[in-house]
Structure formats: structure tokens, C-alpha cells
Symmetry: C2
Subunit: 303 residues, 2 copies
């Protein structure tokens, strides 16, 4: 029998009773769990940092916009004083523009993002390549521009001691967000560069459908810069951008996926990243408690 | 200057003025155009057949449900008397069930679908593999069951003189509709069988995002059983099942895709297949007129 207080906990956003007790600060099972702060979109950086500390999470994945809201120096102090690691910075990229001036501007923006990543002592800047320019239907050319833009950042990243993490996105987003649509494709782009400079972001939501993905993941070796977990739920929510499910609510086999990540040798943090209107409508603390429970139930045993 | 009557035509569902004159009966550019009848979902088979004849389309892709509504014999007579080819029958498949009894029932249902395909003198039965059984997260196992189910139908299809067309579906549908998620994967399943028995359905909506897809298509040779066209539009409509766009309204490069199909040697019909609530809300005749215009503008010149 678990304690009565635990039995009263309800999972977000399902509203169903928790299946396991909520792990708390000091629980060794939380040693690699990170809150990607977009999972608690209603929280600013201050609340997210405090939420991680209260729940016993040792790491946070930050986004540039909420960092900018408090200012970079304040953000650095905030996470350091809280004793948190910054597992990643989201996000760079968006460099598939059609015109050279736009791509130069994107490059410069990525340099600023790399500066912030280094200042926050985060190991990786997550790169979302971007979609097709308006009216442009040449996806292979856009993919070529994405690869070129990664190449142009390699020396800059190394000089700052951070890695570039190419995030393959679900083909659902190929037109408007990310033209790198599979892990195989991301690895091919990364392969042109040293692994200490360029790797790939493995996100279960984006990749669970890819044929042969478990073997691909297991063979990634040091190329994995980040492991992000989120579920694929059906029916797909009406807003395609907010279609991710709480870990365990959908179709992803977290045991198999996490086992493949373990076999790759990846030893970094595990970020829970969920864009979902129902999750965002819940109190942040309930969301963090739910994801901690789901993590210790479904992910951590396989790491 | 085009004739005034043509200038008044509006495209469905955009409501924008037509860019080209509507081709009519006898126009040689329509020689390979087929209406997949789900594009005019408000029409029964009778209306769809009449709509094809009125617009000068020589072929129709039929669905089993509207065929059953009029009865198979009546459907055979209807298309024959109208002088139409049946370019394909949609759809068999849905054979990824977890339990053997369900898979036997699916096999038997596919035999009936093959009988209907032969009776309608259609060259191909389109196979939509099906998704994950409820609560099942083993997509690789489901893919294995799909391949086994195709294998079990090969001799049955050959005995009836029809082909099985495996339809890879956009990864958007991997959980709930089709676990075969790429052309590469469909070709791998087909490769275990003779090309006169098993091929692949190439649908622009499902495949446009796949890395390297144009070379894959061009190399398909006689494996292509059907070429279906529909567009990928953004933002994605709220109902993921109805997210296809009218040809030309979205991000697909029909010139490049159709050129790849031509290079493959495919010489069959080209079906326009669009599931979209806005298209379905339009009068069927306007939909057929629009798709005929878009086809002669964007597809046919590249065949």
C-alpha cells in the first residue's frame, strides 16, 4: 500500500489516478530527468527553475525567449544558484530561407544562440532547421541549405565549447518547421562533421514511426546530443503544433526506445518536452509531478 | 484572351479564379486522368460515373462502400456502359490486428475485395495496411504482420489477374491507419514477391516529404501500380484524416514528382484523391472541373 497522499494524485492531462508514487527530491531515479520548459509553457524561467527544484529535477532545458525575458545574466545566475544543469538550449536553426540576406540574418541569430548556450553552460544548442520558404516547393534544395547552414556554424560552436544538435522533426512538420524529417537524414548531415561539434536530437515524438529507428538509435554512439521524450497520441489534436502527448498516454514504446538510447552509450539528461494545450492548461506543478511519475515508471528503468 | 465563360470559373475550395481553361470531353490531355471517388464524397457511384463522363475523364477509382451501395453487378454494368476504366479499387488491407481470428477475418475480407477488383476489371486493389491494435506499441511487429498478410494474398491476387498495391501512408497515420510509412519500406515488402502480383501506390500527399523519394520513384520500374495526386497544405486542417489539399494548393512539387513517375516507366492512370472537408462541401461538378484544370496545368505536361 502506498501512502494515501500519493493515491490522491491525478495525472495531467488525463485526470486519471497516478499509477506510481511521485518521486521527490533526492530520489536517485531522477538523476537524469530534465524539464524542457516548453512543457510548462505557462511558467516563466523563475517558476520553471523553482518547479524543478521543488520536484527534485536536477536539470532544465531552456528556451531562448523566456531566457530573454529575464535577461541572460539573470538566467545564468538563476539556474546556477538553484544548482540546476541546463540540459539544452532551444532553439537555433530556421536557416532554410530562400534569400541570402535572410540566411545571413539567421546565421547571425544562431551565433547569438550559441553565445547564450555557452553562457548557460549547456552542452547543446538544439537546431530546428526550418521549413519551405513561402511558395517554394523544392524541399531537397531546402535540405541542402540546412546542411550548408549547419556547416557554417561548426567552427563557431567548437570555439564556444558547445555542440550543435540537429533535430529531425516528424514529417508532419516538413513544410513549415523542419525539413530534416528522419533520424537517418539528420545523421547523414551530422556525419560531415566531428561528433564533438555536431550531433542529433533524438525525440520519441518525432521519430517513433521511422522504420528501423531502434537500430539507428542504438548505432548513434556519441552522435546523440539530447534525448527528448513525448508521446504520439490519437486522435491527433486539432492544432498540429500542439499534438504531443504526456509520456505513456500514446503509442510510443518507451521501453524499447530508451533501451536503444542506452545501447548507444548516451549518458546525458532526458528531457520531457510536450507541446499540448491540455497539458499547458494544467498547473505546472501537477504537470511536473505527472512527468516525474511517468518517467520513473516508463523511461528510467530502461536507461 | 480566353473565352469569358472560362474566366468565370472558380477553383474549389480556394474560390480563386481558374488559371487555365477547363478541359472538356475529348481533350487528349485527359487520357490518363481518373477521379478517385473519395474526392467527391457527396456523390454515390452513379453521380461519380456521370460526373466523369460529363467532364471527359476516362477512368474512375472506386471505393468498395459506394460499390456495395449499388451492388457489385450494377456497378460493373454502370462503369462498362459509361465506357470508363476502373483505375483502382480502394481498399483492402487493415490486416495488422493483434489476434489470429481478426487477421483471418481480414484475410477473408481481402479475398472479397480481390473478387470485386477482378469483377470491375480494375488492375489493382489498393492495400492500406492498418495501424496499431489498441494498447499495442510494437510497430515493428505490426509491420511484420502487414508483410505476412500481403504474402498470404499473393497467389489469390494472381489467380484473379489483379495486383496488390501497397500504399505507404504519411507517418501522420502510422498509429491508426497505416504502419507502412515510406516508399522505401513499401518497396521492401513488395520486393519479396513478383512485380506482376505486388506493387506500390505512389501518392504525392503521403510521400512528398520522404528524403530521396524522387530517385526512389524513378527507380520503381514496374512496381508502381497507381499514381495518386493530392497536395500537402499548411496549416494542417484540424481533422488529420481530412488534411489533403487540392492539387496546386500546397507544398508538393508536382512537376518534379510526376517527372520521376514518368522516368519509372509508369504508363497507367493518374488518380486525384483528396480527403478534405472544404472540397467535400463543394458541388461535385465544380470539384471535378477544378481538378481537371489543375491536372492539365501541373501534372499532365510532365507525364
Amino acid at each position: 500500500m502506498t501512502a494515501p497522499a500519493q493515491e490522491l494524485a491525478l495525472d495531467v492531462p488525463a485526470g486519471s489516478p497516478a499509477r506510481v508514487a511521485t518521486p521527490g527530491p533526492g530520489d536517485p531515479r531522477l538523476a537524469r530527468l530534465s524539464l524542457n520548459q516548453r512543457t510548462t509553457a505557462g511558467w516563466g524561467l523563475r517558476e520553471a527553475v523553482d518547479g524543478c527544484v521543488a520536484a527534485g529535477l536536477p536539470a532544465i532545458g531552456v528556451w531562448r525567449e523566456p531566457v530573454a525575458e529575464v535577461g541572460l545574466d539573470a538566467a545564468v545566475t538563476m539556474v546556477r544558484d538553484a544548482g540546476l544543469r541546463v540540459s539544452s538550449v532551444c532553439r537555433g536553426g530556421f536557416f532554410t530561407g530562400a534569400d541570402p540576406a535572410g540566411r545571413r540574418a539567421a546565421h547571425d541569430e544562431n551565433l547569438r544562440a550559441l553565445d547564450e548556450t555557452a553562457a548557460l553552460s549547456a552542452p547543446v544548442l538544439v537546431l530546428v532547421p526550418g521549413g519551405l520558404p513561402a511558395g517554394d516547393r523544392d524541399i531537397e534544395a531546402a535540405r541542402g541549405r540546412a546542411a550548408d547552414a549547419v556547416a557554417a556554424l561548426v567552427d563557431e560552436a567548437r570555439a564556444r565549447g558547445v555542440r550543435l544538435g540537429i533535430e529531425p522533426m516528424h514529417p508532419l512538420y516538413a513544410a513549415d518547421r523542419g525539413v530534416v524529417s528522419s533520424l537517418g537524414q539528420a545523421l547523414a548531415v551530422a556525419a560531415d562533421h566531428p561528433a564533438d561539434a555536431v550531433g542529433v536530437v533524438v525525440d520519441t515524438f518525432h521519430l517513433w514511426w521511422e522504420p528501423g529507428v531502434l537500430d539507428l538509435v542504438a548505432g548513434c554512439g556519441e552522435r546523440i546530443t539530447s534525448y527528448q521524450v513525448g508521446d504520439w497520441i490519437t486522435p491527433l489534436p486539432p492544432d498540429a503544433l500542439l499534438s504531443r502527448g504526456m509520456v505513456g498516454d500514446g503509442h510510443v514504446d518507451f521501453a524499447a526506445f530508451t533501451d536503444a538510447v542506452r545501447r548507444s552509450g548516451y549518458a546525458g539528461d532526458v528531457e520531457v518536452e510536450i507541446f499540448n494545450a491540455d497539458v499547458w492548461a494544467a498547473p505546472g506543478g501537477d504537470t511536473v509531478a505527472t512527468l516525474a511519475r511517468r518517467y520513473v515508471e516508463l523511461v528510467e528503468p530502461h536507461l
